[in-house]
């Protein structure tokens, strides 16, 4: 079976291991992108409230999750 066919077969499979592994990888990717974008927004001077509104989550939630990281400095381009 060619590589492409194998992949297509796996994509159509209802094997929970395949599906859950994809969810796990996607969650890691999502968390990674969230950290990058929240830090970027902070560097651009966005308030926690503005970030929370953009993500459609509570201000407390976004603050609790992200405020503990080392502070990000102001962007040099600002």
């Amino acid at each position: 079976m060619s590589h492409a066919t194998e992949l297509a077969a796996a994509a159509g499979s209802s094997d929970p291991r395949v599906g859950l592994r994809a969810v796990r990888a996607l969650r890691r990717l999502l968390e990674t992108l969230e950290v990058i974008q929240v830090d970027n927004a902070r560097r651009h001077g966005w308030s926690w409230q503005e970030i929370a509104d953009a993500l459609e989550v509570s201000r407390q939630g976004v603050h609790k999750k992200h405020a503990g990281r080392p502070a990000v400095g102001p962007s040099k381009e600002v």
């Binding site: 796996a10 592994r21 994809a22 990888a25 996607l26 890691r28 990717l29 990058i36 999750k65």
Partner: protein, 193 residues
């Protein structure tokens, strides 16, 4: 649960926290627990390891190497992640390229896992998920053997019995069969005739 820990087991956990602090690691990991466990040469855990055929000097050297990798940085995305994402139509390389265009090379680094604070309140240190799991499993090991206390030997069993994780792999690499450790613990606890 912590009140069930013997004085030696508490000292082990405290020493692991000291070890992490001294190395300026953000959290106590399984590797710090292993190093602290090996440091107390008169503990039941070390006696069990010796009985099970471990070369203690070799094991300690391996543990020192393993602990330096426990600096809290998270595992980067690997080919298994990329393959899993491809299954659902996401091209990780394309995402990485887009992120690196905006934020520079290496920007797509997964964040370190979030930490909880229960063990920190108990002990004055932060424990990563593997280390917390080991301490929780040590209670289960004690219950399984019908022991009322949690000692260094139960922490050892919790650490290596499933054979997974950096600490377990280090012990196995030093020549210990994790499936036989139970028996060595029971032998060590049997009162001398």
């Amino acid at each position: 649960m912590f009140e069930r820990f013997t004085e030696r087991a508490r000292a082990l956990v405290g020493a692991a926290a000291d070890e992490a602090r001294r190395r300026e690691h953000p959290a106590v990991a399984a590797e710090h627990l292993l190093l602290a466990l090996l440091a107390d040469e008169d503990s039941l855990a070390v006696r069990v390891l010796r009985d099970a055929g471990a070369d203690l000097a070799d094991l300690r050297a391996r543990a020192v190497v393993a602990v330096s990798a426990a600096d809290g940085t998270s595992r980067p995305f690997d080919s298994a992640d990329a393959a899993a994402l491809r299954e659902i139509g996401i091209d990780l390389d394309a995402v990485r390229a887009a992120v690196e265009r905006a934020f520079g090379a290496g920007a797509l680094q997964p964040p370190a896992p979030p930490r909880r604070s229960w063990w920190r309140r108990q002990l004055g240190g932060t424990f990563n998920p593997q280390a917390r799991k080991i301490l929780e499993l040590s209670l289960r090991e004690a219950l399984r053997l019908r022991h009322r206390h949690i000692g260094t030997e139960h922490i050892l069993l919790a650490m290596v019995r499933d054979g997974r994780g950096a600490a377990a792999e280090t012990v196995v690499a030093a020549g210990v069969d994790p499936t036989t450790l139970d028996q060595f613990v029971l032998n060590a606890l049997r009162p001398a005739a």
